[in-house]
């Protein structure tokens, strides 16, 4: 069994991080350049980490599968980033952000981590402004804020509808400065395909150059994975097509525990699916819920009618009706399930019946079309581009889609996994969002991890490692890992199958959406596990990967990623099956209150499930980290 010591510092909640920073070991400045750190990923988490560690004097090697760090999926975040600045004087505070986050996560995350996140949130905004991130401003010149799903204060900072882009470009510019100065070595088009573990410590990675096919080994004193989320396991999602699980999945197979894999967030406001060819679902930022009102017809018979012809009295603004206190701003999991419920009742709209209206008519009356355009113009443009509809005139149609994965590799308070020397940042770890993430909190977490946490905590580990003691890439662990990667590449290319990779990816997505999506139950999950195992067999028997290993080969890239998804999907079902309660995004139909809300079982499930790989074909071990709530009272989440 893996040892899961969360290493939470003792003392009062608000003192823990300060005290911990005093207590942890430091690496002296002259020694820093003797340590090499590998950072895989350059999204918000990876680029902020690589830049900051380079600035501190460590030798950093950064790897991304993209052609540039600026392409990371973080670029697509639209709505904003939270911080407890209380610039609006509306009652926000570190404690309130902490409380909202822990409650939003349905009491399935660690108090100490979240409190630290809320504390450093204020430094993030300072840092980003200093780098030149052009956040929205008020006419007086001060920073503007808006409110976001699950919060009753305005604490979200934003840059039009392109907040992720601007934050990433800020971090990318810091990283570029370090690359230019020689402190960071940047390797683009470089996909990590294995983690190398030497004497129980993570000491390197195996990388394939996607343009030449050359496979190389890299050793280091510590390895940081900041490789993003795995929502593309569902095939259709709001993620960029390239986002995948490979880095963390291969680390899992080398001994790192995978925590809460089934916690996948389904976002309520996305453009509905239109056809079988569809490759992605586009998010309509949740900030739209500030001014848009969500409704469906009260009567099924009205669903096919033009929305304007349906009188007010026949519309059901169901979120406002069910959750009067939060209304359209209730958390994502709740809004998504409510949409599913009204569509299941046959009151969904659009061609497929899988859609609800997001209506701006009232906002246009209040703010004028120009006012709405000022706030959301680019989102309305995107909507028009995709659907050919003008949302200033007819309500948008939206439906929930997979958007974020709260699960990820298990890490302790230092963001180190159970494998010493392996750190995991950003969406790739499991740490701060419990069973549901609040809007605008992922960007906050990624930058908190990279700019403000890892620069301290990596030192604590490295101080215990002799300088210049990293293993040679000629040692047998590296040699074997290279041979394994080479043989898996060869296996794909020599497979005499008939179907393209996408055929299996689509089918996997459908199985997961049906059995491990917005509503789950025992029989369905058991069925899902069976179907995925079967699909995996078919995949290996019949997948066709054309082309060769020594040039750019996108089919080969895709095949490796989907092979990993086919294993991860099963683990997600297993995790959802073993969690016999409902919490946050994880809704087990067997465990609900009479009004259809989640029924948590704090006595038996107030814990993190961290899965430990046991080898091919063997059932993994479910380790448990108990969550101790010392400072907050676990209550039933109530947004009514």
């Amino acid at each position: 069994m893996a040892q899961l010591d969360p290493k939470i510092p003792s003392g009062p909640l608000a003192e823990k991080w300060r005290k911990h920073k005093m207590d942890i070991k430091l690496v002296n400045p002259a020694n820093k350049r003797k340590y090499e750190i590998i950072v895989v990923g350059a999204g918000l988490a990876g680029s902020s980490a690589a830049a900051t560690l380079g600035e501190l004097g460590y030798k950093v090697k950064n790897f991304v599968f993209h052609d540039s760090p600026r392409r990371a999926h973080s670029i697509a975040a639209q709505g904003g980033i939270n911080a407890a600045k209380n610039y609006q004087n509306d009652g926000d505070s570190v404690h309130r952000l902490f409380y909202d986050t822990i409650k939003g996560g349905d009491y399935r995350a660690r108090e100490a981590n979240i409190h630290r996140l809320a504390e450093v949130s204020v430094n993030i905004i300072d840092q980003c402004v200093a780098q030149g991130v052009p956040f929205a401003r008020e006419y007086g010149g001060l920073l503007a804020n808006r409110s976001f799903g699950g919060a009753q204060v305005s604490r979200t900072f934003y840059a039009r509808g392109q907040t992720g882009q601007q934050l990433l470009l800020g971090a990318y510019s810091a990283l570029s400065r370090m690359v230019g100065s020689g402190a960071v070595e940047l390797n683009t088009h470089s996909e990590m395909l294995d983690l190398v573990v030497v004497d129980g410590h993570a000491k390197g990675i195996i990388v394939r150059d996607l343009t030449t096919g050359v496979i190389t080994a890299h050793s280091a004193d510590a390895v940081i994975l900041a490789t993003g989320g795995y929502g593309n396991v569902f095939n259709l999602s709001t993620y960029a097509r390239g986002s995948n699980t490979t880095a963390i999945w291969r680390a899992y197979k080398k001994g790192a525990c995978f925590a809460n894999p089934s916690y996948a967030q389904i976002h309520p406001t996305c453009i509905p699916v239109s056809g079988d060819y569809q490759s992605k679902l586009t998010l309509m930022s949740e900030s739209l819920r500030n001014d848009g009102r969500i409704w469906v017809p009260k009567n099924k018979e009205d669903c096919g009618k033009p929305p304007a012809s349906i009188p007010e009295a026949d519309r059901d603004y169901y979120l406002e009706r069910m959750y009067p206190a939060f209304g359209n701003l209730c958390p994502r999991d709740i809004a998504s399930r409510a949409a599913k419920r009204v569509c299941d009742e046959g009151r969904g709209v659009g061609e497929t019946g899988l859609g609800v209206y997001l209506d701006f008519a009232d906002a246009i009356k209040r703010l004028g079309e120009a006012g709405v355009r000022e706030r959301y113009g680019n989102l309305f443009d995107i909507y028009h581009e995709i659907t050919n509809e003008n949302a200033y005139k007819v309500p948008m149609r939206i439906f929930p889609a997979v958007h974020y994965t709260m699960g990820g590799l298990w890490v302790d308070y230092n963001l180190m996994s159970n494998l010493p020397g392996l750190f995991v940042l950003g969406e790739a770890n499991f740490s701060d969002h419990g069973a549901n993430r609040l809007g605008a909190s992922a960007l906050m977490q990624g930058l908190a991890d990279g700019y403000f946490v890892i620069p301290y905590t990596v030192g604590d580990y490295l101080a215990g490692q002799k300088p210049n003691s990293r293993p040679s890439v000629n040692s047998h662990e590296f040699v074997k890992a290279i041979a394994d990667v080479e043989s898996s590449v060869a296996r794909f290319l020599s497979n005499k199958g008939k179907e393209p990779v996408s055929y299996y990816h689509k089918r996997l997505g459908k199985i997961l959406w049906q059995h491990c999506g917005m509503a789950r139950n025992k029989a369905g999950l058991e069925q899902g596990i069976k179907e995925i195992a079967q699909l995996r067999e078919e995949f290996w028997a019949n997948v066709k990967v054309p082309g060769s290993a020594d040039t750019l080969n996108q089919s080969l890239e895709q095949a490796g990623r989907v092979a990993d998804f086919l294993e991860l999907g099963e683990l997600m079902c297993r995790d959802a099956l073993s969690r016999e309660e409902s919490c946050g995004c994880h809704f087990r139909e067997e465990y609900q209150h009479p009004d259809g809300e989640c029924k948590r079982d704090d006595e038996n499930f107030s814990h993190v499930a961290a899965w430990e790989y046991q080898g091919e074909g063997k059932t993994p071990i479910r380790n448990v980290e108990k969550l101790n709530y010392e400072f907050t009272k676990m209550s039933v989440r109530n947004y009514k």
């Binding site: 052609d67 540039s68 200093a130 030149g132 956040f135 060819y277 066709k544």
Partner: protein
Amino acid sequence: MSSEKNSKSISVTLRVWRQAGPNKPGQFVEYPAHNLSPNMSFLEMLDVVNDELTVKGQEPIAFAHDCREGICGTCSLVINGEPHGPHEGVASCQTYIRSFADGEVVTIEPFRAAPFPVIKDLVTDRSAFDKIQQAGGFITARAGSAPDANATSISKVDADLAMDAAQCIGCGACVAACKNASAMLFVAAKVSHLGILPQGQAERDKRVLAMVNTMDDLGFGGCTNQYECSAACPKLISHDFISRLNGDYIAASFRSMFKQAPAQTDGGAG
């Protein structure tokens, strides 16, 4: 015509640039694409064609893409001679089949420019843009050293103008559209974004000189004011920023002739 309401599907013939690798000869190859829904995106059409090629045992067409919503800057197709296709203000991934006519021949090429060598088929190497950024596209701000974010107020007008420039997605369409393969719009966008803000003043001269000189060294051509760049830009970034860049560059060159770079720059406002 057709009795099905919303699904008047169309067929087109694709003329696609195929090139096995860098420095290999390339050629156009024709592929039929049938039964396309008007609501399909252009890249989804390529996915479908690629799956058909795979099943037939042929190599799929390599093309770059990721976010598929116009923000990552990865997609980079020249469609019927126009970078990012027929529509203004969108990227290739935001181009939909409804923009094409039944029976049309659609030509697809990579972004062509000497500093963007072809890697394979429609995929090019645009790392030159990263190199320009590394030369100076930043404001030095060590993590942990920043003052309170509201300590310096910035007028909404300046913040908005900086944001107009900062929207650049780094796709390179401006270079592909320019007969001189100039990267001026790209560099102008970055230089303006940082140069408009008070935080960006301390390094302003150094930044513009370093970025422009690196751009020249990498083989991008000069600007002859044709403004094909801003017309092709998926974010419609204005060529007014190029005038601003020229002004900044001249001022910085002038100042650098008379002034030795100080040993240490002030922290500036940021």
